[in-house]
């Protein structure tokens, strides 16, 4: 099967999202579709799968023009779209989820469990994975759920599979399994469109790379003939000679000192400190306990023992309220779940941790509050028409800036950033790094949890590596390599 999209254009109102896009994918090929957020990747895929109608251009399948009316239509023709956010019903079993809306019934209208089970097993075998069919799907890891999602699409005899950020929520190990599956499917002749921001993966798994920018396809290469710098240049439209800004830290006093911090069964005996002006990266595999340590420090979750000192003084941070009072800020991993009130305005998100400071005669001094919010919107270059725009309407990068504005505004001296650049496009990433530099120049201590090893190596001063709930080692970033961080992250020790 070969799909050719030719001269595709699409506008929403006056907003021209796709101008003249050409994209080709064929059986047995893994084709990366890259571009910053807003470049038009999703729109293009939605047009391919019939979710949106194009204003111009044509789609040819094996040379014949086609037009799909909806996702089901596309699926029947062998094109499946695995969305970034899965729509599983956590309480229902794997089998029930796999056959939802496609249940096999016998002639009395009763579900034919046996037949469904056989079919499910057959397709899982094809992926060479072993997944129990009778457990609630919500009890399985995200990685496993994703495999089930892929299996589901294969039941429809998929020829072209679209994977939208499939690795975003997976652990390293799960990514390996995902790649095994992709390679297996490739051998079976399935073509795949792979959307991801992670350069490393793109170069590992794909055969072909097409880059989109501002609604145009700007370049298309065989993966073997191109390098990361060229791709970034194509995506951003300018030469990012240095993707990560330089670090020229000047350290001050120790801002945060954590000693023998323990939460039984979650993490044990964690001790570290971070100085004013420093960026301490927390690395480790997904599930190693990095996030859990930080949540307990900030007072979201409980801990059993251990002490925290801020600026040399021992403090008891029982809740985020206490932490904020001690000038600690925490950008959570999941900004939609814990970072933002999506239905509230940018202003009401930004000033929330600081709102108690704007009380005059018992009521909020609205003018002072507005000035404060405006100042932060400007300083963090949040792109919005006004401070009253809803946070939920912003792009990922701008949402992240709003969360950062919250913590910059609350005067954080210790700032914990959990995956600060996840789901953020290249341009906004750079702005976030620049802001982190500016903050450390002003004496803020930053702890950055990141699953992106390039980022950890490229933009930190020191790296603490967590393995199975304890600190397995610390390396100065200038001495660190991908290999020695991975050694520590997988439980090994570094030889002196």
């Amino acid at each position: 099967m070969k799909i050719e999209m030719k001269g595709i254009s699409k506008s929403f109102g006056k907003n021209e999202v796709l101008k003249d896009v050409n994209f080709t994918v064929k059986s047995g090929e893994v084709h990366a579709l890259m571009g910053e957020n807003g470049a038009g990747k999703s729109t293009l895929m939605n047009i391919l799968t019939g979710l949106l109608d194009a204003n111009g251009g044509e789609i040819l399948v094996d040379g014949q023009p086609v037009k799909y009316h909806d996702a089901l239509d596309a699926e029947h023709s062998g094109i499946s779209f695995i969305h970034q956010e899965m729509n599983n019903f956590g309480e229902m079993t794997v089998l029930e989820n796999m056959f939802l809306n496609h249940e096999i019934k016998n002639k009395f209208g009763i579900l034919d469990m046996k037949k469904m089970r056989t079919q499910a097993q057959k397709v899982l075998q094809r992926l060479d994975v072993d997944i129990p069919l009778n457990v609630p799907i919500g009890t399985l890891s995200v990685g496993t759920q994703q495999m089930i999602e892929i299996a589901k699409s294969l039941m429809n005899d998929t020829k072209i599979l679209i994977l939208d950020e499939p690795s975003a929520a997976l652990s390293e190990k799960e990514i390996d399994s995902l790649f095994d599956i992709i390679r297996g499917l490739k051998k079976q002749g399935v073509g795949m469109i792979y959307i991801s921001h992670r350069m490393q993966e793109i170069f590992e798994i794909t055969d072909q790379i097409t880059v989109m920018r501002d609604g145009l396809t700007v370049a298309s290469y065989a993966t073997a003939d191109v390098d990361v710098h060229q791709i970034i240049k194509d995506m951003v439209g300018r030469d990012l000679s240095d993707f990560y800004p330089d670090r020229n830290p000047k350290y001050g006093e120790t801002r945060l000192e954590v000693d023998h911090f323990t939460s039984k069964g979650v993490f044990e005996d964690v001790s570290f400190s971070v100085k004013a002006g420093e960026i301490l990266a927390f690395s480790g595999l997904m599930g190693a306990g990095r996030t859990e340590i930080m949540r307990a420090i900030f007072g979201i979750d409980r801990h059993d023992s251990g002490t925290i000192k801020i600026n040399g003084k021992e403090v008891n941070l029982k809740s985020p309220y206490d932490s904020i009072k001690h000038s600690v800020g925490f950008l959570t991993e999941d900004r939609k779940d814990e970072g933002l009130i999506l239905d509230a305005s940018i202003a009401n998100n930004i000033d929330l941790p600081s709102i108690d400071g704007f009380v005059k005669h018992g009521v909020i001094d609205q003018k002072a509050d507005n000035d404060f919010v405006e100042m932060l919107i400007k300083r963090l270059t949040v792109k919005a028409t006004s401070r009253e725009d809803l946070a939920g309407d912003l792009s990922g990068g701008n949402q992240q800036k709003v969360v950062l504005a919250k913590w910059v505004g609350s005067g954080s001296q210790v700032l914990i950033l959990d995956e600060p650049t996840r789901g953020v496009d290249v341009g906004a990433k750079r702005e976030i790094y620049d802001l982190m530099n500016e903050l450390t120049d002003r004496g803020v201590a930053i702890i950055m949890i990141s699953s992106d090893l390039q980022e950890v190596l490229g933009f930190s001063d020191r790296i603490a590596v967590v393995y199975e709930g304890h600190l397995n080692g610390e390396i100065a970033t200038k001495d660190a390599t991908q290999e020695n961080v991975m050694t520590l992250a997988t439980g090994g020790k570094l030889d002196e």
């Binding site: 006056k14 900030f298 979201i300 809740s319 985020p320 309220y321 932490s323 904020i324 009072k325 925490f330 959570t332 779940d337 814990e338 970072g339 933002l340 009130i341 999506l342 239905d343 509230a344 009401n348 929330l352 941790p353 709102i355 108690d356 704007f358 009380v359 018992g362 009521v363 909020i364 919250k406 609350s410």
Partner: protein, 325 residues
């Protein structure tokens, strides 16, 4: 190019926005016009006063209910709190306690009943619907125990000028409880829209986890919100007891539904995080005009219930449609 689109947006009349902003008010005015055309005595001063008197009690309860609903919760126990605190006050007055002291004890009890709801919800982690469904039954049961199932009344209650004034008195030709409603509106309007407490209430309703991470003492605020709901229900209970001159064991039955209806008609989202105090006042007035109008028009109380239900449904469906656009 940007400029031209902006001016156009400003120049054109945004009907959707207008409706969502003024919808409840428009509905109230239209309703009032219809009723006054059908029955001219609707606009008579006596009838208006009567209407406002009826609205006051529901409005007071609804103000508290709105805080609860803004957090994404619900309080089904307000009707029972109204009855129980009314009975407590009546019992105290009948036993010779000074009416003012009895009044204060009554509203304090309402606040405590609300606090109990709040603690169970905030610390027990149970759903507000279930907790207040249970306490609705408990508080109603306590009312029956306290009153033995009979109204509490007595000469002392009708002799007490200060207590009687609450629900029967007039000031400058306007029933005293209307002043209470206006005062309640002013106080809680400021609390909701001008203070950090109000902002935190909206934040909890918008995203409780994010509010907690941003340093909002969510449990604290939740408890206070149920205290407010209980307190206002008790105040309404005082007014009703005074108006009737007795505490009825089944007073306030299903009042929670009228309060919820007022809040929803006023445009507050049951999911929490969105709403306006003025909307709730208008919502209470809409229900008041509906009740009053249908009485004037001689519509049987059986049909009144049907009409009220339909009005609420239509309002909510219109609101949903608006939200989708």
């Amino acid at each position: 190019m940007n400029n031209t689109t902006e001016t156009k947006a400003k120049g054109s009349f945004d009907f959707g926005k207008f409706i969502s902003k003024l919808g409840p008010l428009v509905a109230l005015i239209v309703l009032a016009i219809i009723v006054s055309v059908l029955n001219t005595s609707f606009l008579g001063i006596n009838n208006i006063m009567n209407l406002l008197q009826q609205v006051s009690i529901n409005a007071l309860i609804a103000f508290g209910m709105q805080f609860v609903i803004l957090t994404g919760g619900i309080d089904l126990s307000v009707g029972s709190i109204l009855a129980l605190s009314g009975a407590i006050t009546a019992q105290l007055i009948v036993s010779g306690v000074s009416p003012i002291v009895a009044f204060l004890i009554g509203v304090a009890c309402g606040a405590v009943f609300g606090a109990l709801n709040g603690v169970l919800i905030a610390y027990g982690g149970a759903a507000p619907f279930i907790v207040t469904l249970a306490t609705m039954s408990v508080y109603r049961g306590l009312t029956y125990v306290l009153t033995n199932g009979n109204p509490i009344t007595g000469a002392k209650m009708n002799d007490s000028f200060s207590f009687q004034f609450l629900g029967q008195g007039y000031l400058f030709g306007i029933p005293f409880q209307v002043y209470l409603m206006v005062l309640g509106f002013a106080v809680f309007y400021v609390l909701m829209h001008k203070t950090t407490f109000g902002r935190k209430t909206f934040a909890i309703g918008g995203n409780e986890k994010a509010a907690f991470v941003a340093g909002v003492k969510t449990k604290h605020i939740l408890i206070w919100i149920y205290v407010i709901a209980g307190f206002l229900a008790a105040v309404a209970g005082m007014v009703l007891t005074s108006q009737l001159g007795s505490a009825q064991p089944d007073a306030g039955t299903s009042y929670e539904m009228d309060a919820i209806a007022a809040v929803v008609l006023g445009g507050t989202s049951l999911a929490g995080g969105k709403g306006k105090m003025s909307g709730t006042l208008i919502g209470a007035l809409i229900i008041g005009v509906l009740n009053n109008g249908m009485n004037l028009l001689g519509i049987s109380s059986f049909f009144q219930q049907i009409v009220k239900g339909i009005v609420i449904l239509v309002a909510v469906l219109l609101d949903r449609k608006q939200a989708k656009n």
